[in-house]
Symmetry: C2
Subunit: 495 residues, 2 copies
């Protein structure tokens, strides 16, 4: 040290340089420390709205002022779609892609119109435009009840709180068109004060309650699946009031739910060709996820479909809800070490296997419906047809359960294969009995199948006048819908 002192004494600029460098270093360190503390603070207060959000605020952009990252990513659900290539064209129409479904749903509204799924931000547009909601002429007209709105909008949270679920469900779908106008959004899953995940739909709470479970006390981790289970489940409209009900009282396997529906003689519709008392599966994503290995391993819906993003010091949940195949690095590779390409191929391989059984199930079931139609025409008796119709009901239910759930062929490949295998077994058995019935009534040759190669041909075969349905729908869309939007605008401006 004495040498250094000597040097500095002789050349004082060296001492000043050391002093200056030290000062600059300390200053920069101070800047870093401030930045770190700021980000910590930012993270801590991230979930407390800076600008308070009103209790039933349904509008995304109001929430978005407080939570720009979640808002911006949620807006990307406009890009979420499952359009496929078919004969070289982009196909969003599932009936065009697979016209046999028109026959399988003959007599039911799904045979008119069924599109491949797309993002939450199309909920209102799609429910208004689909032919399945018909073309109501006034508030008390149309094929559907208000229950159909249940999963479409955060406006439903307000209405259910204000009038109670029973009142909400009652009446025709057209009677609440002016009240339910915002697409699925923040309020559907979040508490506007704390941002905590919240179950806003009573049907889920009630279904668990009947099993003695209070899910309002579920953990945050559990709610990362349960908020999705509010809507992504099998359900039915119970009784005259069309009360939204989950058929889980005997369990959630395809057989459990089938037993439940059978025990209450529930019928979604009577098939137009076979006259079978059919069941329509909705979208049992929660149930089929529960049947798979990811659920067994404690992986929630959000873990894969809403993976975390790190931006600077902030880790937040990606609200662009879509297939995890779009976010393999953040969804799958958190646990799996394989390459993106390999993981994608693994998924496709399983899906292709299930898809093959799906098509076998559809072909067999379509034939059963068409052969049953001929049997009735040839004078088959109710008593003869009864076992056939039960087999068709159960075969149809099992096929629909496996197919209606988005992603089931991935979530629970083996279970869906089992379900489809039992569907094939049952429709095959129905066809064996039908062959005997047809023979008794004079038909011993193979029943000729109609040309079902396009949606148009299939719809014509089942007797749908699509032009008339579309014309009615256009009147509804051009006349009633603009009025709904006007009324809603006036109401929302009062907030």
């Amino acid at each position: 040290m004495s040498d250094i002192n000597e040097v500095i004494r002789k050349k004082p600029w060296i001492g000043w340089s050391i002093f200056l460098v030290s000062m600059v270093t300390v200053f920069v360190l101070g800047l870093f420390a401030a930045s770190i503390m700021e980000r910590r603070t930012e993270a801590l207060v991230a979930y407390t709205p800076a600008k308070p959000i009103p209790d039933f605020e349904p509008r995304l952009k109001v929430w978005g002022e407080n939570f720009p990252r979640e808002y911006v990513t949620y807006l990307k659900t406009q890009e979420t779609n499952f359009v496929t290539k078919y004969n070289g064209n982009d196909v969003k129409d599932a009936l065009e892609e697979d016209p046999l479904m028109v026959v399988l749903w003959a007599g039911y509204l799904f045979s008119r119109d069924y599109n491949r799924p797309r993002g939450h931000l199309y909920a209102i547009e799609d429910i208004r435009k689909t032919l399945r909601t018909g073309a109501p002429k006034d508030a008390h007209d149309g094929p559907q009840p208000n229950t159909c709105w249940s999963c479409k909008s955060p406006d439903v949270v307000r209405l259910m709180q204000q009038m109670g679920p029973m009142e909400f469900y009652k009446g025709k779908w057209a009677s609440k068109g002016h009240e339910v106008v915002n697409n699925i959004g923040c309020l559907d899953c979040h508490d506007p004060k704390t941002m905590n995940l919240t179950i806003t739909r009573p049907a889920l709470v009630e279904a668990f309650q009947r099993q003695g479970v209070d899910i309002t006390k579920a953990t945050h981790a559990e709610k990362r699946s349960l908020v999705c289970a509010q809507c992504h489940v099998e359900y039915y409209f119970k009784g005259e009031d069309k009360y939204l009900t989950f058929p889980w009282d005997k369990g959630i396997t395809v057989e459990d739910i089938e037993k439940y529906y059978d025990s209450i003689n529930f019928v979604d519709w009577t098939h137009a060709l076979s006259r079978a008392p059919m069941l329509k599966a909705q979208h049992p994503e929660y149930e089929t996820w529960k049947m798979g290995i990811h659920s067994r391993r404690g992986v929630s819906c959000a873990d894969c479909h809403m993976p975390y993003i790190s931006e600077g010091g902030i880790k937040f949940t990606d609200h662009h809800i879509t297939t995890p195949l779009k976010t393999i690095n953040r969804s799958c590779q958190v646990c799996h070490r394989e390459s993106e390409e390999e993981l994608k191929q693994n998924v496709y391989t399983q899906q292709d296997r299930v898809m093959e059984l799906r098509m076998k199930a559809e072909e067999s079931l379509a034939k059963a419906h068409i052969e049953a139609k001929l049997a009735w025409e040839k004078g088959a008796l109710e008593a003869e047809m009864k076992p056939v119709l039960t087999l068709i009901r159960h075969a149809g239910w099992r096929w629909d359960f496996a197919v209606a759930s988005h992603g089931a062929s991935f979530h629970a490949s083996t279970e869906m294969s089992r379900v489809l295998g039992t569907s094939i077994d049952k429709s095959g058995k129905a066809r064996v009995i039908l062959a005997r019935i047809l023979a008794k009534h004079g038909v011993s040759e193979e029943v000729t199948m109609p040309d079902l190669s396009t949606k148009a041909k299939a719809q014509k075969f089942i007797g749908l006048d699509m032009n008339a349905l579309k014309a009615e729908k256009d009147i509804f869309l051009n006349e009633m819908v603009p009025k709904w939007d006007e009324q809603a605008k006036i109401r929302e401006e009062k907030y």
Copy 2:
């Protein structure tokens, strides 16, 4: 230090004590070092036989003198069995457990006798005792060719090298009973000089050769599955010479192999009831493993079925080949973090799902055979029956492929479900056509099924005289087999 010197000078025993303690410590360290070096040496020379092993040595105990760990664990394959509980009893008889199989194999030797699998050390006992090898009266009698010995013994390695595979396969099974007496053992998979894994059976080499692949150049890691694939595969006996051949030339899926067999009009047997030209699947473990995720992830047969054991400084391969469910800690938990109980339940869940489709497939196929029998009896024509018989052939093949392979319902759950689903589809279609044919020939009621609730009833139904078959077999076992053993003993003493 000067203080210590002063103390020692006054009390010399303290100095001697320190000296002694130092000596003892150094000695013990020396012992440790020697032990470590010895174990290193032991590990390095572990795979060089201390006592040379002759070129075609088939006897385990000779190899075992050099490799006591591998030997002792291999002896435990005597404990390997897949006996199940059925009606409260231990069942090793697969036909007793599932009598429908008797009907499915009517006209084929499997309908007489089919046991659940057990360890490699029963290979010779089991092939001698099974009714499937019949009761030869001399070296040129009996239903089976020498090809049946191919996978049963290291004696086959010697014979094939000495006479070539073509000569080996030729002739009746009874002609080589005195030559093939040692159970599957070391020589089947190991080079006696280097202990390297070695493919000793030509059929596997030839199957890959036809695809342009030279598996004699496979890596050690690949051979950890390929040595198993010498036997645990689908195969058939080609042509008059009964040349052991793997039907992989069009691929290894159930459809690929079906196409291969169809293209050469191969028929394992003509079904005794339906007269369908049937295919029998052997045990396509290698193929079904290839269809599953463990194969995709590079996990070899040995990784799970022969996991490593650490004993002291030596890590060696457990030669107690059995289900990995017995060694979950060393087999599964090397990669999977879940508890033993959880992993076991995961396997059972998948197996139960596949098992359900298996039973549906069997019931449907058994009915098809029985209905076809009645159709023939009622005067059905060849031309009418042709499409039915093709459907039955393919449905039977698919069922058999999924069921014959040990572990397929675990190795490739979804693929096996797909295969069984297509089996159900095809037998269902066969039954629909049969219902029409039967109606044309005067039978329009449901065909009554016989009582097939036990193996005995099912065997009686297909017309087997089991007492006669067993009596013949006893004569063979009591008279011919002891002579084989005597001759073999004399031959082996000359080594």
